[in-house]
């Protein structure tokens, strides 16, 4: 048996023997997909709408009826004065308000009418969605009535017309699960050898540092692949989330992303003394940014200007762009090559740094 093969066999034995950890790792994507799919829904339902109608003509009342008959919206009142809007929002009696000016009918007759959709900025994500609902209803109403477009619907929603959050969380979740399995588990596994003193013996042995790193990483690569498939399959079967583009491209991008994460795991493990420090290092240094700065939980466009460039150094940012593109828009290499190139570049740099960090430790 070659030294490298012996090492991979040993690593695989460690993983298979620790049944509890293995079960957690295999069930993690299942739990996460179900949790995000059912519980942490960001869909907005039962939006309470207040209409401030200063015009009170046939057209404006028709529009109000259109709002009232939309399932996701609930009309909580119609007032004449726009001054009532702010107190109602402040009191939490309404989530969003539609303000129709006094000369609505005249403006419509002339060609362009303006309405104002006011949201409650205290809950920005919810408000933005609620506003979008109302705007959609208004523009649909305008289109049906043969009138001019009153409010332009945002183009971003074209690819997710129902604004279903299942469609949006899957790419981020994929990034999260892959990061967890590859970076965290690799860092812990290498730190364990240091903690127990076995790393010394491995370094004195004929095994080369690169072989040790690759041997550590290889089994987790396989595990991450299983996790990627589980996540995609569950999302498709349970929530009907589509993969509109090439599955091969998706898995190839996942592979590149996993390599980058594994390299970060190696980097972290070379700088910490034990498993606990490795865990903290990966949680704070990688998993938190992956959750908070990748656009998974918080939209990058709503971050402050100085923070937005920082999101560019988080590998997950690029991975999520690629996955969203492939899954939801059916985009191919022609569209996504830039994001993929950045991701590949990051993986290469991180792998080089990871390999060097292992050599540094010996020197």
């Amino acid at each position: 048996m070659s030294p490298f093969a012996a090492f991979v066999v040993k690593e695989t034995r460690h993983i298979l023997r620790d049944r509890q950890t293995l079960a957690v790792l295999l069930l993690l994507p299942v739990v996460m997909v179900l949790l995000f799919g059912y519980a942490i829904r960001t869909d907005v339902e039962d939006v309470r709408v207040l209409v401030a109608d200063a015009s009170r003509d046939a057209r404006s009342q028709d529009l109000t009826r259109a709002l009232a008959s939309t399932t996701a919206l609930r009309l909580v009142g119609v007032v004449a004065n726009a001054g009532a809007v702010e107190p109602a929002l402040r009191a939490g009696e309404a989530d969003v308000a539609l303000v129709i000016g006094p000369d609505f009918a005249r403006q419509l007759a002339r060609g362009t009418a303006e309405v104002l959709v006011v949201g409650d900025g205290v809950v920005p994500n919810y408000a933005a969605t609620a506003q979008a609902y109302v705007r959609t209803v208004v523009s649909q109403w305008a289109a049906e009535g043969g009138g001019p477009p009153l409010v332009r619907t945002s183009v971003r929603m074209r690819f997710n017309p129902t604004l279903a959050s299942q469609n949006l969380f899957v790419p981020g979740l994929l990034a999260f699960v892959l990061t967890l399995v590859s970076a965290l588990m690799t860092a812990i596994s290498i730190a364990r050898e240091k903690e127990r003193g076995t790393m010394e013996v491995l370094l004195v042995s004929p095994l080369r540092p690169a072989q040790i790193v690759v041997g550590k990483v290889a089994p987790y690569l396989a595990l991450a692949f299983v996790n990627a498939l589980t996540t995609l399959a569950l999302a498709a079967i349970v929530f009907g989330v589509p993969v509109r583009g090439s599955v091969t491209l998706l898995l190839a991008a996942s592979l590149v992303y996993v390599l980058a994460s594994l390299a970060i795991g190696v980097l972290v493990s070379s700088r910490v003394p034990d498993q606990r420090a490795a865990m903290m290092g990966v949680l704070l240094g990688l998993l938190m940014p992956t959750l908070a700065l990748s656009g998974f939980v918080f939209p990058i466009s709503s971050m402050p200007g100085w923070l937005q460039p920082v999101t560019n150094v988080v590998p997950a940012t690029w991975f999520i762009l690629v996955v969203r593109g492939v899954m939801l828009k059916g985009a191919g290499l022609a569209v996504l090559w830039q994001e993929l190139a950045v991701l590949c570049g990051m993986a290469l740099v991180l792998l080089a740094l990871g390999a060097r960090s292992v050599n540094d430790r010996i020197e």
Partner: protein, 258 residues
């Protein structure tokens, strides 16, 4: 059992380990300061010194882990600076922490280290069998190492370090945390290995163990302050025990330190 080697015309006359002016610096700090010594084949060589005296750094250079800053050292017939991989294949290593995997069985541990040192499957099977028989551990072969008592782990770790029949075995404080009776038994294993022709290079904190060595070197502040058989050193320093020799050497260095 010796590895065929064309680079050495008369291998048996070569010392198992030798160093000449071996030096390692880290920035301004000289961890190992021009040490020169030889270890003969089949010798049990004690490598002593207080913590921070440079023992670990010297050992890292001799095992091919760390490149020397200057001077040279040869281990098992190869230059540690030029051919560390050849050195690594021909030495065994065991540390205080035994380096066995608790979550693997006895057999799996042996198999792993056999594989790492490039033994064939048949060699691994044969040597596992004889190793288990020698240690009287046949019935424990499929038990997890984590369940073995410390003394058994230690013996197993030593036998595993010898599995690939290395020319030199480096033992880094191998008896730390083990009771005196078990330590005594362990030294019997060391003698058995030495009488088979394996050179044993051992560091220890226990001065009674220094008495068991054929020759002893004592490092103080990066230099070899004393080198000889235990009897010679005791005579030279006018001490009854190795403990007395060690204290005389180590104390001035500690007092001189800021």
């Amino acid at each position: 059992m010796s590895v065929p080697d064309s680079s050495l015309p008369v291998p048996d006359l070569q010392p198992a380990v030798w160093a000449r002016d071996l030096t390692r610096t880290f920035g301004d700090f000289t961890a190992v300061d021009a040490i020169t010594f030889e270890v003969a084949r089949g010798e049990v060589f004690g490598f002593l010194g207080a913590n921070g005296a440079g023992k670990t750094t010297a050992m890292k250079m001799l095992t091919g882990l760390l490149a020397p800053s200057s001077g040279e050292a040869w281990t098992a017939g190869f230059d540690v600076a030029k051919d560390p991989d050849a050195v690594k294949r021909r030495i065994g290593y065991m540390s205080q922490r035994f380096a066995l995997y608790d979550d693997l069985t006895v057999r799996e541990n042996v198999r792993f280290y056999g594989g790492v040192y490039g033994l064939t499957n048949r060699q691994i099977a044969e040597r596992t069998q004889s190793l288990l028989a020698r240690l009287g551990m046949e019935r424990l072969a499929n038990d997890l190492v984590g369940r073995l008592p410390l003394g058994w782990k230690q013996k197993l770790a030593f036998s595993v370090a010898l599995l690939h029949e290395p020319e030199v075995v480096f033992l880094d404080e191998p008896t730390g945390g083990v009771d005196p009776v078990t330590r005594r038994q362990f030294w019997e294993l060391i003698y058995a290995a030495a009488s088979d022709g394996t050179t044993v290079f051992v560091t220890t904190h226990y001065m009674d163990e220094a008495e068991y060595c054929d020759r002893v070197s004592i490092m103080v502040a990066g230099r070899i302050a004393a080198l000889g058989t235990p009897a010679e050193l005791k005579r030279q320093f006018g001490a009854d025990t190795m403990d007395g020799v060690f204290l005389q050497l180590a104390r001035p260095a500690e007092e001189a330190a800021p």
